[in-house]
């Protein structure tokens, strides 16, 4: 049974919550497992909303500000719901040297979205990341989990348009 506090925190008592609490139990409610718990929560929910953070802070008996501070310190954790589709452009050295900035600018212009943000309709998020480690194939962009190596603005835009079109049908 999920913790009773969860519903107070506004969380639905569903499978995700059970999995999250199972993970917390696995770590024996240890405070130092916060990062691991946040990872699990984000995997389950896609992002960390307020209710989720409150619940985690209660279960681990951590001050809310501490949980919030940790969740915002690390780039990986998302506190806002990301778009349906996610484009991530690698801005590692190799990619930058080979023109990753142009990829970002192209997506920004075409879809009217700022780096780190989501389009107004919530369809597309654009993130930049520091080195995905595929430097030999620079520049790299990841569209919905699929890596495009030696990317050009045209290829990336085409790919995004394609998935957005597919969505419409």
């Amino acid at each position: 049974m999920p913790d009773a506090g969860a519903q107070q925190a506004g969380l639905k008592a569903d499978r995700r919550l059970m999995l999250l609490e199972a993970a917390i139990r696995k770590y024996q409610y240890r405070k130092d497992a916060l990062l691991e718990v946040l990872h699990t929560a984000q995997e389950l929910y896609g992002y960390l909303d307020r209710d989720l953070l409150i619940h985690i802070s209660k279960l681990l008996r951590l001050p809310p500000s501490h949980v919030y501070g940790v969740a915002t310190f690390y780039n990986l954790f998302k506190l806002k719901k990301p778009g349906t589709h996610v484009v991530t452009v690698c801005m590692g050295t190799a990619c930058y040297v080979k023109g990753a900035e142009d990829l970002v600018l192209a997506v920004e212009r075409e879809f009217n979205v700022k780096r780190g943000g989501t389009t107004a309709d919530g369809k597309l998020s654009l993130f930049v990341t520091r080195c995905i480690g595929a430097c030999a194939m620079a520049p790299n962009a990841i569209v919905d989990g699929e890596t495009i190596g030696k990317a050009t603005p045209e290829v990336v835009l085409k790919k995004i348009r394609a998935i957005m079109e597919a969505e419409k049908d």
Partner: protein, 550 residues
Amino acid sequence: MKPDELRSLAQKEAEARKSYRYRINVCCSSGCMPFGALKVLSAFKDAVKEFGVEGECYVARTGCIGTCSIAPAVLIEPGDYLYQNVTPDRAKEIVKEHIVNGRPVKSMLYGNEAYFKKQLRIVLRNAGKIDPLRIEDYIAVGGYYALLKALTRMTPEGVIEEVALSGLKGRGGAGFLTGLKWRYVARATGSPKYVIANLDEGDPGVFANRTLAEADPHAIIEGMAIAAYAVGASKGYIYVRSEYPLAVETLKKAIEAARSMGLLGEKIFETAFSFDIELRLGAGAFVAGEETAILASIEGRRAMPRPRPPYPAQSGLWGKPTLINNVETLANIPVILLKGSEWFASIGAKNCTGTKCFSLTGKVNNPGLIEVPMGITLREVVFEIGGGVPPGRRFKAVQVGGPSGGFLPEQLLDLPIDYESLTKAGAIMGSGGIVVLDDTSCMVDTAKFFTEFCVDESCGKCVPCRVGLYKLYKILDGFTRGEGSLEDLQKVEELCEFIKEASLCGLGQTAPNPTLTTLRYFRDEYVAHILEKKCSAGKCFKNGGGVGGE
């Protein structure tokens, strides 16, 4: 696991290996995966069945072979035939010609012998040749023998002595003597003690550690276990970037495999030594690679470095003595114990023994993961292994050591790669990144890029790093937009000195390096930007056509 069991398992595996005439190693690392490596793998498996050679040909899913520019890459043993840009169709042809007919397909082979000629693979000894997900593969090539040797035939002090004599220095960047560090932890009072393997390689352009973890995770685990034995620790953490899902997965499975074989856990090899490892995931914070920040992160806090002393060796995780080593350092350990410190010390340069892995990227013809003996010159790396800059372009600079590394010009290419020489020239070894720039890169813009990186990654604790770097970035940004004066160069130098000297941790202390070295070796480019509003690479002044900027 009993000692004998290890021996018999190794023997069994070795015999199994012998029963195959060919071994097809399909690289399935992060570099090759996006380009269809898994499809190629199953195409090979299908093909050997189709041609009825499954009895004599083993198809292995391996880690990185090192030639990321020809992904997906496939290595066929014996003979180390390296096939480039393999597709499922080509896989079939390779099996037909190479295996069935015994005729390697020359047209598909990677013909660049120079790429391997100057390399020496100690850390990456198994990379691309064993299946990282099969612990048996690792044991077959002598894996866990070093641990067995240490536990059964050496005292902890003996192990430390051996490591110390090898002259091995920390591969994480600072180059502290590994044996000495171990000794500090061993002598520290406090219990329990911890060992941390640092795999939080966040430097853009660097992927050597990731590749190692993906290709040979057990080398890291074995190294950790030996270290734990030497310093008296019973618990270990591998702190790994979550941006490396494949490495995380591989390590997770490797830990489970080692545990199920009794190579981790209670009473390893029936000795009194117990040791287990937990995986800890980072979450996108470059600074977490710093020794004291990694501690905070593992303890579930914001990864903010703290001042040293006290050093983690005295007061680390939860205030207990803690050994923190880079994974590359640890992967060296089993070899040192097996082959001896004397052998290791004979490799590389006099004051800097062994080899170093580098990810070689940027404007270079043969990018990839390389391992070279210390003391090799940058020219050899860039022009012989890397094959120089693309045709028609002119070499401009090479950056060694990630975002905090310096940029070295043509005239310094004969510099030998060792900690001292690099530091003297304004660069650092870092965790092993070499980025080559040609004449299409603007040095002012590049300095700005790296400063911006450090601004983003600064934890914000100390003023020089948090504010100083941002101000530095703003000034550099001004240069690229046509603002600023020659007096600002002086200001930049003063500010850099303050950031370098007064910052709390390594991130801030080295962050001005790109700016300082570009100012030192490419000052004329700054002057041209300021006085003539001219960027020879054509990168700057994009808004506003040269004068005034926005």
